[in-house]
């Protein structure tokens, strides 16, 4: 027999976990994409030395497990005097992780912009910063928008790992509840559905933003 009603008394625990996961997701999505945009710009247009630095960062993060990155930041950094709260460590780990993956995605978008577009901006007298923000970014992001959306969702789902350093997120809530009432099936099923709902919501938000940013595609 299944007893979903046994979860009701823990609804506060679930809601507070959900809130933590949502907060971290919103924050790290914004910061991570900003970091990725900056790194992609350097990797595409920067000088040789700064390109090298970005490459090392990207490859380091993309070729190591997220949980190791998180443990290193939370358990490792105190050894060199950086004490972080679980929440801070998670925020940094998630941002750095999304930053690395989105760097490669966004760089593909930047690479798709023709040299002619940049020359046109140049001969009109735009400086490089103006060219980036006015001419390059919108069409570049349009090209890679679906891939970027998926990556943000992957990172949101991957954030479940932060419960391992006792951040009280949604997965932490599920663990807690099932350890109290032994309703593992019900507890994890409800949690899974909540993550599913979050994914759908996040995709919905990205689509709505995309419709505004790339309005020219649908205009007549």
């Amino acid at each position: 027999m299944l007893y979903f009603s046994d979860l009701l008394q823990y609804s506060d625990v679930f809601l507070s976990g959900l809130k933590t996961t949502v907060e971290l997701t919103v924050l790290t999505t914004i910061l991570g994409v900003a970091l990725g945009t900056a790194c992609a710009t350097i990797r595409q247009y920067g000088n040789r030395a700064s390109q090298r630095v970005v490459s090392v960062y990207v490859e380091l993060i993309r070729n190591t497990p997220f949980i190791v990155q998180l443990f290193f930041i939370f358990f490792g950094l105190p050894a060199i005097g950086m004490m972080l709260s679980p929440w801070e460590a998670s925020m940094i780990a998630l941002t750095i992780n999304l930053g690395a993956y989105s760097t490669e995605i966004i760089r593909a978008g930047l690479a798709s912009i023709s040299k002619g577009q940049i020359e046109a901006a140049k001969v009109l007298g735009l400086n490089f910063r103006q060219t980036l923000t006015r001419v390059i970014f919108v069409p570049a992001f349009e090209k890679i928008y679906p891939a970027l959306t998926s990556q943000c969702i992957i990172v949101m789902l991957g954030s479940a790992v932060i419960s391992q350093i006792s951040v009280q997120d949604l997965t932490y809530a599920a663990n807690l509840v099932q350890s109290r009432n032994f309703r593992a099936f019900e507890s994890y099923l409800v949690t899974a559905l909540m993550y599913l709902g979050l994914s759908i919501l996040l995709r919905f938000a990205f689509n709505a933003l995309g419709k505004r940013l790339f309005a020219y595609r649908t205009a007549d």
Binding site: G116, Q117, V123, L124, N127, Y216
Partner: protein
Amino acid sequence: MSLVNLHQVHKFYGDHHVLKGIDLDIKAGEVVSIIGKSGSGKSTLLRCINGLEHYQEGGITVDGKEVTTEDIQVRRLALSVGMIFQNFNLFPHMTVGENVMLAPTIVLKKSKAEAETTARAMLEKVGLAEKFDSFPEKLSGGQQQRVAIARALAMSPKVLLCDEITSALDPELVGEVLKVLEQLAKEGITLVLVTHEMNFARDVGSRVVFMHQGKVWEQGDPKTILSNPQTDELKQFMGAVL
């Protein structure tokens, strides 16, 4: 008074010697057509004039100021030299109006209202006033190229460089773009065009420059030079294009 002056300009791509000592003097109000086979250095020459390409030897001045490829220099040059490309290069995410208004607002720091007045006037001039709110991809190639002309004109350049601007167009669309150019020529704007439109060069141009193997091979009055070429190379070229 000379507006654009090239003195012994040499340009290399690695070992490849593309421009071999170009001397050229263009006065305000002239319409200069640069013709020649592909690979003769025509486009490179044009791109050196506004700093898009670096040159190794010699000197180029526009309106008395030296041309270099330094970023700040190129941007200052943009105020006096406009350029139109073969592939239009309109910004796809902006409306026609926004394309034309972009540089006047963020480079010349004009107010939005002032930039819009200029933009509407320039679009009127190229016959596309009613397309102000359309997006580029909804326009034909000929219309897109006319918008590109309006965009360049909105910066009130002293000289307009046209790099094969009708080459990517369907034949029936070439005429509308040339008509705009002809109008500009009548208004006295200085035009330097790399072109394959011999009729235009003859009827509208004030000078034809024939380039061959990185040199100015022959130049002069269009009617004379095109009907009575002096060098074998130009004779051969004329035979090939007509």
